[in-house]
């Protein structure tokens, strides 16, 4: 995973609450077998007209937001389906940072597996960022993870909270499977002791030739 330290880039606003992952990457693209190449499908139904032409009304298609790498969003961003195709699309489109008042749990988790920094800021600050983005063409922000700040060139500087562990994961681009496997001995010990907790866990019967009805 690509580490994340600081990032400066243009901001693109998507001014809707409860943007769900079905909107980010619709179902038909969840049948692919790779993790790459989802950027062209991001916000597909909003972004393209029937026939595949870009929808000029959708904000990411406005020329002034081309090349944006920071996504400004509203509350409960990424709700619904657990599909990791959504953050894969966000990243592949070119966004490294998503700023919103709140994120849905699964999407938030998925960001940290993909080197995306989700920044949670209070409603009023997000409102203010929407205003600044709309009023200043080419509006840019710098997200500084070590110092946990978001700042612009006009003197705005906002602090954000992020868990120490998650911060470390992003800063170092850590593979958390590798981290967990450092505790291999504990996992094995747990497995040995497990049946005492729950005497029922490991007695499956063979269902290979099971009749359809019980």
């Amino acid at each position: 995973m690509q580490p994340f330290s600081t990032h400066t880039g243009m901001v693109a606003p998507v001014d809707r609450v409860n943007v769900d992952t079905d909107q980010m990457i619709p179902k038909q693209f969840c049948k692919l077998l790779t993790r790459e190449g989802y950027g062209k499908f991001l916000f597909f139904d909003w972004r393209y007209l029937d026939g595949g032409k870009p929808n000029p009304e959708f904000i990411l298609n406005w020329p002034r937001y081309h090349g944006a790498s920071i996504l400004l969003a509203r509350a409960n961003f990424g709700c619904g389906s657990s599909r990791e195709h959504a953050p894969w699309g966000v990243l592949d489109y070119g966004f490294r940072v998503v700023i919103a008042p709140s994120f849905a749990d699964i999407f938030y988790n998925n960001c940290f597996k993909n080197g995306i920094l989700p920044v949670t800021l209070p409603d009023q600050q997000v409102d203010d960022l929407f205003r600044r983005t709309e009023q200043n063409p080419g509006y840019r922000l710098t997200a500084d993870l070590p110092n946990q700040t978001v700042s612009d060139d006009h003197g705005l500087k906002l602090s954000f909270e992020i868990g120490a562990f998650r911060k470390e994961i992003l800063l170092k681009g850590l593979d958390d499977i590798g981290l967990s496997l450092q505790h291999e001995a504990k996992i094995t010990a747990y497995e040995k002791g497990h049946p005492q907790h729950t005497p029922v866990m490991y007695t499956p019967v063979d269902v290979k030739n099971l009749a359809p009805a019980k």
Binding site: V17, N18, D20, D22, Q23, P26, K27, Q28, C30, K31, L32, L33, T34, R35, D45, R74, A75, N76, C79, G80, S81, S82, R83, E84, P87, S102, F103, A104, D105, I106, N109, N110, K113, N114, G163, A164, F165, D175, D176, I177, S180, L181, H183, K186, I187, E191, H197, T198, P199, V200, M201, T203, P204, V205, V207, L210, A211, P212, A213, K214
Partner: protein, 473 residues
């Protein structure tokens, strides 16, 4: 020991390691996988030279993209065929048990887990699907995970997780005639909204929850994620144990008895502390119908489509106006005056035998409205399908004009050919009315199976309480 919630008990029983400021490492008892979110996880595992640690605790099924028509025909959708091939190959190479689309036990992952007894009280259960919350109905800690986490569980049989907060959702009183589990959970989401559950596990309690069958409890827990909570749970009780006994993966004889003794200890202790409590009175809940583009945009069947201006916050006003535009609805329209194009009875929310029986009782001896373009019944599993056919439910549905299909996710998500065309309106027993969920431009109204059945007959929504059918309980 201090009083603990059921969530805390199961969490602590699965802790491998927990340190301040860091996520805990918890052991996973059951890992369910499907063709949609697993190929990249297996590929990642292979690329890193890692193995599936516990193939015996991993169960795979094909459900999201499977055709619900004749499966002996070739799969023309090459992307879907690619998913099936990948799952089949990955399971063969790693020794994971697979219920492929020709298995007699195939079905939606959240239907077959409980049906086969793979799902048991006290377990930790994960799956790369947000509706994994369904399994919490048994008093298990079950939640959806992303594909990177699927890879993590394949490699380690553990998950790195932060502790959640616990919310107590108490539904007091008795469920009125014609009000189902689906109506209860839609009413809960209508009350709390779709984001209040973020960071929480819901434990459902109260007389109305106790009075539900396992099928009803699964419907409730299934939609926890629509309230923002990753997991929902119901304490196991006699109803749970009676459901479990004799299922293929459930222990038998004295092992079953000792399992039940353990399962009984899972209940939240008296005085256990919840971070939030929400109370509802079942007697005040009417049959529910969604009018917008998320499950929190819901109202009683006796109400009208709301006026966006009536919402307190600007965000909500904008969202409601946008939703009504997408849904092609005008404020003030009576819910019962909304005409329908299609009806879909299926999905991991409502496709179990009990759902199909109730819907069949509503449609028995009647015909679907002539204005309807399609009415679909998609059983949640092939076992449900076989049992329903044994009871003659397929004949009841077919005689009324419904199509009777093979098991899978179908039009809930539209990854196969079952899709809602643009501009058309569907009464659906599924869980998400998001824009484009059932098909680009499709307009979804979430309802209970008996409401969907009655709407198919009438061609529009009806107050099922006025229909004198025993299907309305």
């Amino acid at each position: 020991m201090p009083s603990r919630t059921m969530y805390e008990k199961i969490w602590e029983a699965h802790l491998i390691r927990e340190e301040p400021e860091a996520p805990a490492l918890i052991y996973i008892d059951r890992h369910l996988i499907h063709e949609g979110t697993s190929p990249q996880a297996f590929a990642g595992l292979k690329a890193a030279g890692r193995k599936v640690r516990r193939p015996d605790l991993t169960f795979a099924v094909m459900d999201h993209s499977v055709p619900t028509v004749d499966r002996m025909l070739p799969i023309l959708d090459k992307d879907a065929a690619g998913q099936f091939d990948a799952l089949e190959r990955n399971c063969r190479e790693t020794g994971v048990r697979l219920f492929d689309m020709h298995s007699a036990n195939q079905g939606i992952v959240h239907i077959i887990g409980p049906e086969l007894g793979i799902t048991q009280p006290g377990q930790t259960i994960v799956c790369g699907d947000s509706h994994t919350s369904t399994h919490g109905a048994f008093g298990a800690l079950a939640f959806g995970i992303g594909t990177s986490e699927v890879e993590h569980v394949l490699a380690t049989q553990c998950l790195s997780q932060f502790r959640s907060k616990a919310a107590h959702i108490v539904i007091n009183g008795k469920r009125p005639h014609g009000v189902t589990a689906k109506d209860l959970i839609l009413a809960v989401i209508g009350k709390i909204g779709i984001a209040d559950g973020i960071g929480h596990v819901f434990e459902y309690a109260g007389e109305a929850i106790r009075g539900l069958s396992m099928e009803g409890r699964m419907t409730i827990c299934n939609m926890s994620i629509e309230g923002g909570a990753r997991a929902g749970m119901v304490a196991p009780d006699g109803t749970t144990f009676a459901y479990m006994e004799g299922r293929p993966f459930v222990p038998r004889g004295k092992h079953f008895q000792s399992a039940v003794e353990y399962w009984k200890t899972l209940t939240s202790d008296p005085g256990a502390k919840f971070d939030t409590t929400v109370e509802l009175n079942a007697a005040e809940i009417a049959p529910q119908v969604t009018w917008g583009t998320n499950p929190g945009m819901v109202t009683s069947v006796t109400s009208r489509v709301p006026d966006p201006a009536a919402f307190p916050h600007t965000d909500e006003q904008k969202a409601a106006a946008h939703a009504l535009e997408y849904m092609g609805l005008k404020p003030g329209t009576l819910i019962v005056d909304i005409p329908l194009d299609r009806v879909f009875i299926g999905s991991c929310t409502n496709s179990r035998l009990e759902d199909l029986r109730a819907a069949a009782r509503v449609v028995a001896g009647k015909k679907i409205a002539r204005t309807l373009k399609q009415a679909l019944v998609v059983p949640g599993s092939r076992v449900v399908k076989a049992e329903a056919e044994k009871e003659g439910l397929d004949k009841v549905f077919r005689a009324a004009g419904f199509e009777w299909r093979d098991a899978g996710c179908s039009m809930c998500i539209g990854m196969n050919d079952d899709r809602l065309p643009a501009g058309e309106r569907c009464a659906s027993t599924s869980n998400r009315n998001f824009e484009g969920r059932q098909g680009k431009g499709g307009r979804t109204h979430l309802v209970s199976p008996i409401m969907a059945a009655a709407a198919a007959i009438a061609g529009h929504f009806v107050d099922i309480r006025e229909w004198n059918v025993d299907g309305a309980e």
